[in-house]
Each structure stands twice: as structure tokens, then as C-alpha cells.
């Protein structure tokens, strides 16, 4: 199980390293690898019934009592199979699509990372794990959208998707933590059994979890990242942004539906947001000409449809949501691959330039027609059943049912119209302009996957026996919370639902016939408005950049003296504040100097130091200031000699020497030394210096009162020889007893060195320009 889930990461590494050397071999290896993962998951087929679940736990961080748990129930099994089967098909497609792309190794690696993360997400057995995989899918989506990183648009879209989805992920994390605080468990199985109704954080949990789900599943007002994510290569759009990743939000809603659906506001919010998104995005889809954007908006709309259905919450509505999830993955994955073929073979994604392609790309056309059939919801496609269920659920909903019904009717009619445009217009209809490339048929690995997907969507409704009992029933039972049967019947008798369906087809056909006029009428929807969420997003982003610029100009103004001033001010305020807040005043201040006449020589370094200080004040050149200050340093170093700390003293001498030398080297480059001219600034510096010095003195006086004996001291002194094999306690502490600290310190030093190299090479570049 662990290998099956995490094997994707290993495959990703292999692809990243070796793809360039053996492109075909590694490409097919990844397909076979994912296929075998799928095969492994198929062994669970039929072993999970009704509301059962299985857990696979692995020790992860035993000291924190955190385990890696894979939780397998009907719902996660359904998603696993969806992800791994789609993964296989889409990687096969990618082998053809990415042929000859010099960056293809990166692409395969990202795709595999995403797939493994997505598998981890749907199988997460504890909620921290759920969050980690959730963000991993966001990050891999970011990398994939920005795959063509030489294009500004791709980079911007990637950043947008990351900020929106990962930001939502943070809200999700907060929500999950609140849940686990209420239930006192991180374990998914335990949480799903728990009763949340006594929790004091109910409303907060609801808002946070919904934020996570809505951002990931592109619900209004967070929908705008998904159409922009179409900057990614087509396999990404098919896999992440229609079939799997955007379904993570739906997965989350379905997963927590039994737990959260009783909270006030859950149902209403989901129904309203879902319905609005459904209609809004369907209209926007209709006015687009770029086929990928058309499909992207339909995805947003379809996600809204699922959200609204989950909001209704009745058994039949959940069935509708769930079936539509499967249907949508099948037809949309297929259509995206078709769009990829069109782009790849004819060089354009503009539907005005595409037409009469059926003869030139027969297999692609077949896939497109079948998928459109499914999208329009004609029988016998599974789409028909899903749509009927949705209408039925809407008509029988206890409240706000008319909203969902109206919305789903409008959206479905538009789907029918768009299905005609894609399935008929592109392949059989006339084109307005000619495409930039003469169309070629696509290679087999590029038409087979869409055919398989669309064919499944079209015929699975008929051949549904095995699918139903082993996958759909357990998955649905998990969502609903009790053993449930899925009925995939086409004929329910002549009733309102059927009438509604027939009217949908008629209106949809009308939309297709009058598409140009309607597009003009609705063109206002596609414009950029000042209050549009995307506009606000960019405005916020600009403001944030401006703010950080102001902040960095204020704090990092290039004057060393200002940095030191700020640092010392904070030190004085924080340390001094704590000091007096805790009431740590020294009890006894010695008034007489502890002079013993046989150690008068100790005054020699002290005199030197005092002399140094005075000289610093009266020096007018940097060199003099430096040398006077170093007198202070060397003086301190020699004081250590008298207090039997030769190690410290040696170190201090050496460090002081090197500092002085380095300073001398830099002096050349500094501008002319200027004394602080402003009286006011001078004054504030003096005050700060006095405060800081006074604070240090106080602390030293306090330290004197702390008894010098401690068990650590005894431990180190007695154990140094037997355990550390050395008599120099300081050194033994450094390299043996506390070697971990030293290891951390030298690592930091190494990183500093890298920073210095980067900075100095930056300087050289500037000079050359």
C-alpha cells in the first residue's frame, strides 16, 4: 500500500533524471508504472462493501505519535480508481503530446508527483496528512500551470492558482484543526464517527472548510483561477483541472458531508453558491471562442452543479452529485484531450477557425461526438441519468429547490448548446477562417485515451451491473452514511422530470441555432468589470507589492547606523520591558570595587579598554575608529586570560584579528566618513547607547547573583574525560556533548557562504553593466 501510494514520487524522480536519455522507454515506463498501480488498487475491487472501511497504518513519527494512515472506504476507492485509471490514460496521451519537447522530463515528473499526492489526499487516514497532500496537489498544479515558464501569462496564472488554492488550503488547515480539537482525534475514521454538534466552533468550522473546498473547486468568487489555469499544457487541463484536482473540493464536501451537513448554513450556502456558479460559468463558457476556455468554464459550472446537489443533501441529490462527478470526469477529460489534439494537429484553439475536421481526424471526431453526447445528457449516456437525478432532487428539495432546479435547467440547456458547437460545429460544420496548420490525424496514443473515456461515459449506463455493486454502491453508502443502492434506470415513466429533460434539449438546440445572436446579447458577461473577483485579486496583489516595497524601503534604507539603531531599540524595549515586568532588579549593588592589590595587573587591559573608548569618540577617520574599537576587543580578550578561560581568550583574539583585517579591506570601499550632523539624531543615539549600556550592566549585576554552581557544570567537568575522552571541557562540549548544536551552526555558516557568494557575484554584475 505504501509503495503503491508513494511509488509515484519514485517514478517522478526516475522520469526527471532519465527521461532525456531514453524518452520513449521512460515515457512508456511511467504509463506502465501507473497502470500497475491502478491494477493493484483494482485488487480491492469488491472487497469493500456498504459502509465498511479499511485502514493501513505505518509508523511515521513515533515520538510525536503521528502515523501515516491510509484510509480506504467506498468513497476513497472510487477516487483512487478514477485517479489511477485517468492517470494511465493521460500519461499515455502525454507520451504523444510531449514528443520532442526538451522539457518533457520535468512535465512527466510533475504529473507523477501530482498523481501520487492526489492518491495520498483521497486516502488520508489522518487530517494532518490530508492537509499535507492537499497542499502538495496545489503545489504540483502550480508547477504544471507554469510549465511554459517563458510565458508571462503562464507564470501569472500559476501564481494566481497557487495563491487562491493554497490560501484556501490554509483555511482548510484551520478548519481541520478546529474539528480535531472538538473531537480530540486526528484520525479520520474516528472523526467520521464523531458527533460535532456540541462543538463551540461549529460556525468557524463550516466557514473554514467551505473556504477550502470552494477555492479548490473554483466556486464563485474564487472561480477565476481555473480558466486562467488553461495556460497549462492540455494533459494537465484534462487531468488536474477537470477530472481530479478540482474534484478535491467536492471530495472534501462529500467526505465531511455526514459530519457537517447538520450545521446551520451548510445546505443554504452550498445551494446558493453552487447554483450561482453553475449558471454564471455556463453563460461565460458560451461567450468564449477558445475551446479550452469554453471547457474550463463548463468545468466551473459543473463543479457548481455538484456543490448545489450536495447542498440539497437528500439521498437522491447526493446520488446525482456523485454520478455527475463521474460523468463529468469522463466527458470533460475526453473533451480536453480532443482540444489538445485540435491544437496539436491544426495549431489553433479558436472554434471559429475549426470546421469539417471529421474526415481529417476521424478518431478524434468520434471521441468528441461521444463526449458531447454525454455532456448534453442524451440517453443512453450516463450524463442522462445524472441529469434526471439532479432534476428529481431539485424538484423534491425541502427548501430552495426551485433555485437549484432553475439553475440546473439553464446550465443544462447551455451544455446542450455547447455540446452541439463542439461535437457538431467543429467536426461537421463550416468554419469562418482557416486554421494556421493543415490538420493531421493524431497518433494512436493521442486518440485512444479520449475514445476510451468518452465511450465509457456513453455506454457505462447500459453495462452498469458490475460497476454498480462494487464501486458505486459502497461509495454512495459512505457518503450517505447507510447502505444504499444506486439505480441506473433510464425510464421512470412519463413525469415532470422527463418533460424538463425534453424542454432542455429543445432550448439547447435553440441556443445552438441562434448562437451568434445570443453571443452578442451576452457579450457583456465576458468583459472585465471593476468589481469582478479577478479584478479585485489583481488589485489586492498590487497593493501587497506596494506595501512590501514601502516597508522594505523604510526598514532597509541602506544605512548601517539605522539598522543598528532599530535593532538596539527593539532589544532595549523587549529585554528591558521583560526585565522590569518580571521585577528582576538586582538586590545588591556593590559600591566598592573588588580590588585585591596582588592582582593589580588586571587594570592594565582595563586601562587600555577605557583608552580605546575615549579614542573612539574623538577619532575623525574610520581607520582610527576601527583601531580604537579593536583596542577594546583585544582588551576584553586579555581579560579572559586572567579568569582562566584561555579557550575563550584565544578565540576572541583570533576573531578580533580577522574582524579588523576584514574591516580594513572594506574601508577602502566605503564613502567618506561623515560625523552625524543633526543635533537631534546625535541626542537620540546617545540616549539609546546609555539605555543599552545600562541594561547590560543591570543584567550583569543580576547574573552575579545567580549561584555559579549547577549540575550541568559538574556533569561536564566530571564526564568530559570518561565519556568525551578529552580533558579540554570546552572542546569536548563543542564537538561531542553538544555536537548537534555545532552541526546546526556550521550548517548555517555554510548557507551564509552561499549567500555571500550570491551577493558578491551580484555586485560584479552591476559593475560590468
Amino acid at each position: 500500500m505504501l509503495i503503491a501510494v508513494l511509488g509515484g514520487y519514485l517514478l517522478a524522480l526516475i522520469c526527471a533524471l532519465f527521461y532525456r536519455k531514453f524518452p520513449r522507454l521512460i515515457g512508456y515506463l511511467s504509463v506502465v508504472g501507473v497502470a500497475s498501480m491502478a491494477a493493484y488498487f483494482f485488487t480491492f475491487w469488491g472487497s469493500i462493501h456498504a459502509t465498511e472501511s479499511q485502514s493501513f497504518a505505518y509508523r511515521w513519527v513515533p515520538s510525536l505519535d503521528v502515523d501515516l494512515v491510509f484510509y480506504l472506504d467506498g468513497l476513497s476507492l472510487f477516487f483512487i480508481l478514477l485517479i489511477s485509471v485517468f492517470g494511465t490514460l493521460i500519461l499515455l496521451y502525454t507520451v504523444g503530446y510531449m514528443k520532442g519537447n526538451p522539457q518533457a522530463n520535468r512535465f512527466f515528473a510533475y504529473m507523477l508527483i501530482f498523481m501520487a499526492s492526489m492518491l495520498g489526499l483521497v486516502m488520508s487516514g489522518n487530517i494532518i496528512q490530508l492537509y499535507i497532500f492537499w497542499e502538495l496537489t496545489s503545489i504540483s498544479s502550480y508547477l504544471l500551470i507554469g510549465f511554459n515558464n517563458d510565458q508571462k501569462k503562464a507564470r501569472r496564472s500559476a501564481q494566481q492558482a497557487l495563491l487562491v488554492t493554497a490560501g484556501g488550503g490554509l483555511a482548510l488547515l484551520a478548519g481541520l484543526i478546529l474539528i480535531s480539537m472538538s473531537v480530540e482525534s486526528y484520525n479520520m475514521a474516528e472523526i467520521l464517527q464523531a458527533d460535532l454538534s456540541q462543538s463551540p466552533h461549529l460556525q468557524a468550522i463550516l466557514v473554514l472548510i467551505l473556504l477550502g473546498a470552494f477555492t479548490k473547486s473554483a466556486q464563485f468568487p474564487f472561480h477565476f483561477w481555473l480558466p486562467n489555469a488553461m495556460a497549462a499544457p492540455t494533459p494537465v487541463s484534462a487531468f488536474l483541472h477537470s477530472a481530479t484536482m478540482v474534484k478535491a473540493g467536492i471530495f472534501l464536501l462529500l467526505r465531511f458531508q455526514p459530519l457537517l451537513s447538520d450545521i446551520a448554513g451548510w445546505s443554504t450556502t452550498l445551494m446558493l453558491v453552487g447554483s450561482f456558479t453553475m449558471v454564471f460559468a455556463a453563460v461565460l463558457s458560451f461567450v468564449q471562442f477558445d475551446i479550452k476556455r469554453i471547457l474550463a468554464y463548463i468545468t466551473v459550472s459543473a463543479l457548481g452543479l455538484m456543490v448545489a446537489a450536495i447542498g440539497i443533501g437528500s439521498d437522491i441529490a447526493l446520488k446525482a452529485a456523485f454520478l455527475y462527478l463521474l460523468v463529468h470526469a469522463l466527458y470533460k477529460g475526453s473533451l480536453f484531450l480532443v482540444a489538445g489534439n485540435l491544437d496539436h494537429e491544426s495549431g489553433t484553439k479558436d472554434i471559429r477557425k475549426l470546421g469539417r475536421l471529421a474526415k481529417k481526424m476521424p478518431w478524434t471526431a468520434a471521441a468528441a461526438v461521444m463526449a458531447s453526447f454525454c455532456m448534453a445528457g442524451f440517453p443512453p449516456a450516463l450524463g442522462f441519468i445524472a441529469k434526471e437525478k439532479l432534476y428529481e432532487a431539485g424538484l423534491h428539495a425541502p427548501h430552495l429547490g426551485w433555485v437549484v432546479t432553475t439553475a440546473s435547467f439553464t446550465a443544462s440547456a447551455l451544455y446542450v448548446g455547447i455540446a452541439f458547437i463542439i461535437g457538431y460545429g467543429i467536426f461537421f460544420g463550416k468554419k469562418a477562417q482557416s486554421p494556421p496548420k493543415k490538420p493531421h490525424p493524431a497518433p494512436w496514443m493521442m486518440w485512444l485515451p479520449p475514445i476510451l473515456m468518452a465511450g465509457t461515459g456513453l455506454f457505462i449506463g447500459i453495462l452498469n451491473g458490475w460497476l454498480k455493486t462494487d464501486i458505486l454502491n459502497p461509495a454512495l453508502s459512505n457518503i450517505i452514511g447507510k447502505a444504499t443502492e444506486v439505480d441506473l434506470k433510464f425510464w421512470h415513466g412519463f413525469n415532470w422530470v422527463l418533460v424538463l429533460s425534453l424542454v432542455t434539449y429543445l432550448v439547447g438546440f435553440g441556443v445552438f441555432m441562434f448562437r451568434d445572436k445570443l453571443r452578442r446579447a451576452f457579450s457583456f458577461a465576458g468583459q472585465d468589470y471593476r468589481i469582478a473577483p479577478e479584478h479585485l485579486y489583481f488589485k489586492g496583489l498590487d497593493k501587497l507589492t506596494a506595501l512590501s516595497r514601502v516597508a522594505s524601503v523604510f526598514f532597509q534604507n541602506g544605512y548601517l547606523r539605522n539598522y543598528i539603531f532599530t535593532i538596539f531599540t527593539f532589544l532595549v524595549v523587549l529585554v528591558g520591558g521583560t526585565y522590569f515586568y518580571m521585577g528582576l532588579t538586582p538586590e545588591r549593588i556593590e559600591t566598592s570595587l573588588p580590588i585585591s592589590y596582588n592582582r593589580l595587573y588586571e587594570f592594565i587591559p582595563l586601562t587600555i579598554m577605557l583608552l580605546g573608548i575615549v579614542m573612539v569618540f574623538y577619532s575623525r577617520s574610520r581607520l582610527n575608529i576601527l583601531l580604537s574599537a579593536s583596542m577594546l576587543g583585544f582588551g576584553v580578550a586579555s581579560v579572559f586570560v586572567f579568569f582562566s578561560a584561555p579557550d575563550v581568550s584565544m578565540t576572541q583574539f583570533l576573531v578580533e584579528t580577522i574582524t579588523v583585517v576584514l574591516f580594513m579591506l572594506i574601508l577602502n570601499r566605503l564613502p567618506q566618513h561623515e560625523a552625524i550632523d543633526s543635533q537631534k539624531r546625535r541626542f537620540s543615539h546617545i540616549i539609546l547607547a546609555l539605555l543599552f549600556g545600562g541594561l547590560m550592566t543591570l543584567i550583569l549585576l543580576n547574573i552575579r547573583e545567580v549561584p555559579l554552581e549547577s549540575e550541568f557544570k559538574d556533569f561536564y567537568l566530571t564526564q568530559s574525560k570518561p565519556k568525551g575522552k578529552g580533558e579540554n571541557v570546552v572542546n569536548v562540549i563543542l564537538i561531542d556533548f553538544r555536537a548537534l548544536d555545532t552541526l546546526g551552526e556550521i550548517t548555517v555558516l555554510g548557507i551564509t557562504a552561499i549567500g555571500i557568494v550570491a551577493l558578491s557575484s551580484l555586485n560584479i554584475k552591476k559593475k560590468k553593466e
Binding site: P646, D647, M650, T651, L654, V655, T657, I658, V661, L662, L665, I666, N668, R669, K723, G724, K725, G726, E727, N728, V730, N731, V732, L734, I735, D736, A739, L740, T742, L743, I746, T747, L749, G750, T752, A753, I756, V757, S760, N763, I764
Partner: protein, 136 residues
């Protein structure tokens, strides 16, 4: 700051600095000294050399790139920290050879750890100095 006297003197003194730093390194276990101090001693030698004869000359004498010193220092320290894990002890646990090596004394993983510190500190002081001098 290229003066003939300093350049000649440093050329003679450099081996002394390095030898002395090696001495300090090994005496560190029982008497004041150790990797850090030894590294500073050695780097003062090289810094003087660089001031007298320039960076490129010093790099020739040093033979190894400062950055290589830094990374290999880290590597040596980490290796000495991880090594006990492979022979069934704890991370960073000190393992010692059972006998003394003449002139050097007892040798164990902490000594190797200290060697890593030594290499890294020499590397970083020289890297900083070189990048400052080079900019002229």
C-alpha cells in the same frame, strides 16, 4: 597594499601558520585549542598572504576552492555524525579507536567532526575575504 617585505615574510610564515594550526587542532582535546581556533589561525595566514600577493596567487597556493572547503567540511561533519548509525549506535554518538596514535593521541568520530568544522571555518573566512578583496 603590495609590499615586498610583507610578501616575502608571509611566504615564509604561511607554512608556520598552517603547521601551528594543525598543532592547535590536535592539542584541542586536552589543552586549549580545537577545530575552530585552529581554523582561524590557518585562515589568518592565508588572509595575510592574500593581502600581500593577491587573491589569485593565494588560490594557487591553497589549491582547493574555498567553496569546496566549505562543502566538504559540512560533508565530513555530517558523515561523522551519521556514521555511528550504520554500525548500530546513536546519531552523533562518539566512537573512538581503542589505541592512541603517536603524536596525535586518541582519534574518534568527534575528531573527524572537528576536522569538518576546521575545513568549513577556513573555507568561509577565506571565501568572505577573497570576495571582499576581489571586488577591487
Amino acid at each position: 597594499m603590495k609590499t615586498l617585505i610583507l610578501a616575502r615574510a608571509v611566504r615564509v610564515l604561511l607554512p608556520v601558520f598552517v603547521l601551528f594550526s594543525i598543532y592547535i587542532f590536535f592539542r584541542g582535546h586536552n589543552l586549549p585549542g580545537g577545530g575552530f581556533i585552529a581554523a582561524l589561525t590557518a585562515s589568518i595566514g592565508y588572509i595575510l598572504y592574500a593581502m600581500a600577493s593577491g587573491v589569485s596567487e593565494t588560490e594557487k597556493v591553497l589549491r582547493i576552492e574555498a567553496m569546496t572547503l566549505i562543502s566538504s567540511g559540512l560533508l565530513v561533519s555530517f558523515a561523522s555524525a551519521i556514521f555511528p548509525l550504520f554500525v548500530g549506535y546513536h546519531f552523533l554518538e562518539g566512537l573512538w579507536l581503542p589505541f592512541k596514535i603517536p603524536l596525535i593521541g586518541k582519534v574518534g568520530t568527534p575528531t573527524i567532526f572537528d576536522l569538518g568544522v576546521y575545513l568549513l571555518v577556513v573555507g568561509i573566512t577565506l571565501k568572505i575575504t577573497f570576495s571582499i578583496i576581489e571586488e577591487d
